[in-house]
């Protein structure tokens, strides 16, 4: 049995610091503007040009990436290395797991957990990567039919398009600068 110090446990549950301050109106604007353009770019390509094909350019995890690369741009989780690396590594793991494990609940858990481990190992931790791996397993038939192409389109190309928008928007804003680092 694991020995638990109840007092210490409750103290931990209470938290130990205050919440960070909020941001100003200009920061809210640039976060909104960047995410609008970023998602608009991948969504437009997807729905205007790829809708009738077997391809797609947008997946749900890009919404989460938008939060990071347009709204929390100083975060290590939001840097280009993490954005691209995290999505690509997770996508590869997700497709591999879907192809080899039949049980969907087990494949889901393995895909996400190994994607997190893979991102940690490669210093590319990007939370939306977990969703990218999960989508490879529980996504639509169209996603499943892509096989390993899923890693290239929509994941890698989509992430690159969103990155390009981030590089433009985050650097035209006076008080912003992006990225913090590349590699």
């Amino acid at each position: 049995m694991i020995p638990i110090n109840l007092g210490e446990f409750i103290t931990k549950l209470k938290g130990r610091t205050k919440s960070p301050p909020g941001v100003g109106a200009d920061e809210i604007f640039w976060s909104w503007f960047g995410s609008f353009l970023g998602i608009a770019a991948v969504a437009y390509i997807s729905y205007q040009y790829l809708e009738t094909t077997d391809l797609t350019m947008i997946i749900g995890s890009f919404g989460a990436s938008a939060v990071l690369i347009y709204a929390a741009i100083k975060s290590p989780l939001a840097q280009p290395r993490n954005l691209i690396g995290g999505h690509v590594i997770s996508a590869m793991i997700g497709v591999f797991v879907y192809n080899h494990i039949m049980s969907l609940w087990l494949a889901s858990a393995i895909a996400v957990s190994f994607a997190i481990a893979g991102m940690h190992m490669t210093k590319t931790l990007h939370p939306p990567g977990g969703a990218t791996a999960l989508i490879a397993v529980i996504g639509s038939d169209k996603i499943h039919a892509l096989g390993y192409n899923y890693v290239i389109i929509p994941v890698a190309i989509g992430a690159i398009i969103m990155l390009i928008i981030a590089l433009i928007v985050n650097n035209i804003a006076k008080n912003r600068s992006y990225p913090e680092y590349w590699i």
Binding site: R16, T17, K18, S19, P20, P21, V23, G24, D26, E27, S31, A71, A72, I73, K74, S75, P76, L77, A78, N175, R176
Partner: protein, 187 residues
């Protein structure tokens, strides 16, 4: 005197960044304290190159035991590096090494030592290279004093030659040098 920043100060600092920072004030304060601690350690831990003695009493490998003992006596030291012709460190010779060889015991009593000197047995000429401890434990000039103190403690030695990247002797650092740094920091 400037006080340590409080959590409120860190909240204000985060606000001054005018952007969403992916860190809590508590973690930021902790990171700040740890960084400050590292900076303090760096300040109180000068490099070996700053405290070493550059004029080193040393011996060649081909020197005899009597010559080495002469150097010990003349300079009031109990050990020295042994170098080759290019001043590269071959080993270290200490009084303990010499006594061990003469008495044939790793730890000798005063009685053992006196026995050797009263012995009528003719001793053959001994060379430093046969008595020294080799290879020597060495440090680089950019090693910190804390690292050297750790070597002294773990290896139970009193001095260590300082060498450059080519193993050329550039100085020596002793326990006494470390004590001097400690006294300086305390004062």
């Amino acid at each position: 005197m400037l006080q340590e920043p409080t959590e409120e100060d860190f909240i204000e600092a985060l606000r001054d960044m005018h952007q969403y920072m992916d860190v809590t004030p508590g973690d930021l304060k902790k990171i700040y304290s740890l960084a400050l601690e590292h900076a303090r350690k760096r300040m109180v831990s000068p490099k070996v190159g700053d405290i070493m003695t550059e004029t080193v009493i040393k011996s060649g490998g081909e020197s005899t035991l009597d010559e080495a003992v002469g150097l010990f006596r003349e300079h009031h030291i109990s050990g020295m590096p042994v170098v080759d012709r290019d001043n590269k460190v071959l080993g270290v010779i200490t009084e303990t090494d010499i006594i061990s060889v003469l008495t044939g015991k790793p730890r000798s009593s005063l009685f053992d030592i006196m026995n050797v000197f009263h012995s009528k047995k003719q001793r053959s000429v001994l060379y430093v290279k046969d008595l020294m401890t080799s290879p020597a434990i060495t440090v680089m000039p950019d090693s910190t004093v804390v690292e050297v103190a750790d070597i002294f403690r773990k290896r139970g030695i009193n001095r260590v030659p300082v060498v450059d990247e080519h193993n050329t002797l550039v100085g020596i650092v002793s326990r006494a040098d470390i004590v001097k740094v400690y006294e300086k920091v305390r004062s």
